[in-house]
Amino acid sequence: MATAEQKVSDEMSREKPEHVRNTELGKPVTMLEAIREALWEEMERDPSVFVIGEDIGAYGGAFKVTEGFLDFFGDRRIIDTPISEAGFTGAAAGAAHMGMRPVVEMQFMDFVSCAYEPLTNYIATSRWRGSGPVPMVVRGPVGGGVRGGPFHSQNPEAAFFHTPGLKIVYPSTAADAKGLMKAAIRDDDPVLYFEHKKLYRAPFLREVLEPDADPVPLGVARKHREGKDLTIVTYGMMVHESQKAADQLHEEMGLDVEILDLRTLLPMDEDAIVESVKKTNRVLIVHEDTRTGGIAGEIAMRISEKAFEWLDAPVLRVTAIDTPVPYSPPLEDYFLPQVSDIVTAAKYLAKY
């Protein structure tokens, strides 16, 4: 068998396909394309990176993120699996022990629940137990609004947010998606990386990226909108819904909303949150996930611990309602937090 080194040089002799060269060519990319480019570039850079999951080879993955990868990187680095999320997630950890940097694709992140046991028990604790770091990424599509029903629409961050040892990334822009994916792959800790399927190909997210942009460091929030009157702490799809709300609030009442995009949920950038709260004195947390037990709680708790004195109003939240994600459009639209909810909550806080 060829060694990893030989294989890499074989690959390099082949032509890089057009659809992963957008940034090289100065063309704008969608979030999906940004993720694809990040994976490709990391695989080129580091022969220990490989991708494993269901239907990622010839089919290129359910959302085509790894389209074209099999031909270029071969089936030792683009590994199709049986339907066994726990099996291949655990196997990825074993490979990581041996010096590899696996990227695990969940066909839908809803199915990461099948790998809950190895992730929270084995993988998250490995370093601490003295079995060494487990550099691996578990990535896949999350989120609702696409009529996917209760099992193809989940936001599973809260399930893992409670586990010391895991990191959770949830980007909202193409640039962040690329930079955070690179950072996640290079990170020595296991990272769950959530990709909102409604943002994958959203035209408004298309942007031209810097060809040699640095990875975006994990654990650092991004100020999506600068403001002084009210802070919205959010992430993922809701960054953009908050942006719409902020524009409307500005227009309607001149309110100057600051939007903090957490980007990394765990570890959480509490310094950025606290700093913004100290400036605006009013906080609204917005997440697409359901209400009870969602991560808004932790954010509110930390604000209480670290910035209570600066609060001029209660910390409030806008979230989905406490049910599974319904399938039918009127139900799902009711279920999901809407721009109007954000506007209403912000107005309440502004007037408080």
């Binding site: 010839a58 339907i83 099948c114 029903g149 599974p324 039918s328 009711y334 279920f335 309440y348």
Partner: protein
């Protein structure tokens, strides 16, 4: 009354009557027609989300469910259909209009628009709706079957699992439990060549799925899944075995998924020629050829069935299309008994977080 023909060469197998042959044909044809209507609705963007086909697998769906004791009062056998078992579901009594409403996310669908496609339940008729997570229904149906055994009821639980889903831990845990408890659970592995794009050779290294039966210590059998008679016979034997208290069974049918994983799948991964081979083995054509060639049923009897199916399907389509979508506030449906979900405080007449 149905006339049953004696057991001489050329007679109808499995003790079936002519009426039963027609009944089977009705279900095969109905499955195909309902799916054809769904394809049309899908192309008109009236289906919400994905459309999953069982084209080419109708004999498996219909033949296996026909082996069961079907009741409408909750005392018969129980099934949990997989995604390619539309025919089984309707065999148990689900109606075309229910299926169409499900696919169109209508408010009067069996799940009130909350869930999709064949994910719906009727305990009286004897079916439990699956969830998407593959394998879990084996665990659920194991518990159904265990209950039959514990209560001394001579009922049987039947479910299907894809070649792909057989790789899940849920399959293993659920089936092993049923095996060791000698629960009357019959599981049919639908070996249809693919799991999404993944061919069987990348799903298992085993030569067959029925080879797993010995590893669980259960009854095993395998047959041509495109032959209604073979499927019915194999399932009947296994069901009888289970019903008699002899425990679980693992069956395998060899069939083929002629359409992609779902309607959007272009099947680029399928080798050239493979589809044609399986078109030639079409289970409905084969069944029709057999029963007409043998002279058991006249072509015109089948034409009548076709006519009837078309009428029923058209009526169902009309009804389903006329059905309303659910009202938005129905999203507050009960997750817990007796208490609806809470409405967002931001949508109250007087928005107030104290009411959150």
């Amino acid at each position: 009354m149905a006339e049953t023909i004696g057991a001489t060469q050329g007679t109808i197998p499995l003790g079936l009557s002519r009426d039963q042959l027609i009944e089977l044909y009705y279900h095969l044809r109905m499955t195909r027609e309902v799916e054809q209507v769904l394809v049309n609705l899908y192309r008109q963007n009236k289906v919400i989300g994905g459309l999953y086909r069982s084209l080419g697998q109708e004999a498996t769906a219909v033949g296996s469910a026909y082996a069961l004791r079907r009741r409408s009062d909750g005392t018969g056998d129980m099934i949990a259909p997989a995604i390619r078992n539309l025919g089984s579901l309707m065999m148990m009594g689900a109606t075309p209009v229910e299926v169409m409403r499900q696919y169109m996310a209508k408010g009067d669908s069996p799940t009130w628009g909350r869930e999709q496609n064949v994910h719906f339940t009727d305990y009286d008729k004897g079916y439990i709706g699956l969830i998407s997570h593959l394998g879990v229904m084996i665990e659920i149906m194991c518990g159904v079957a265990m209950t039959f055994r514990l209560r001394g009821e001579d009922r049987v639980a039947l479910t299907w699992i894809g070649d792909g889903a057989s790789s899940t831990g849920a399959f293993h845990e659920g089936f092993n439990l049923a095996a060791v408890k000698r629960a009357p659970l019959v599981v049919i592995v639908e070996n249809n060549g693919y799991a999404y794009s993944t061919p069987v050779a990348r799903q298992t290294a085993a030569e067959s799925f029925v080879a797993k039966a010995a590893g669980y210590g259960v009854y095993g059998d395998k047959c041509d899944g495109n032959d209604v008679f073979a499927v019915l016979e194999m399932t009947r034997k296994a069901v009888a075995h289970a019903r008699a208290g002899n425990g679980a069974a693992l069956l395998e049918v060899m069939t083929y998924r002629r359409k992609g994983h779902a309607e959007h799948d272009a099947q680029a991964y399928v080798p050239a020629g493979e589809l044609d081979e399986w078109v030639a083995r079409d289970p409905v054509d084969r069944y029709v050829a057999r029963i007409t060639d043998e002279g058991w049923v006249d072509r015109k009897d089948l034409d009548e069935v076709d006519e009837r199916v078309r009428r029923e399907v058209d009526a169902a389509r009309e009804q389903a299309e006329a059905s309303p979508l659910p009202q938005a506030e129905e999203a507050l449906a009960e997750v817990y008994g007796g208490s609806p979900a809470r409405a967002p405080w931001t949508r109250l007449q007087n928005p107030d977080p104290h009411e959150a």
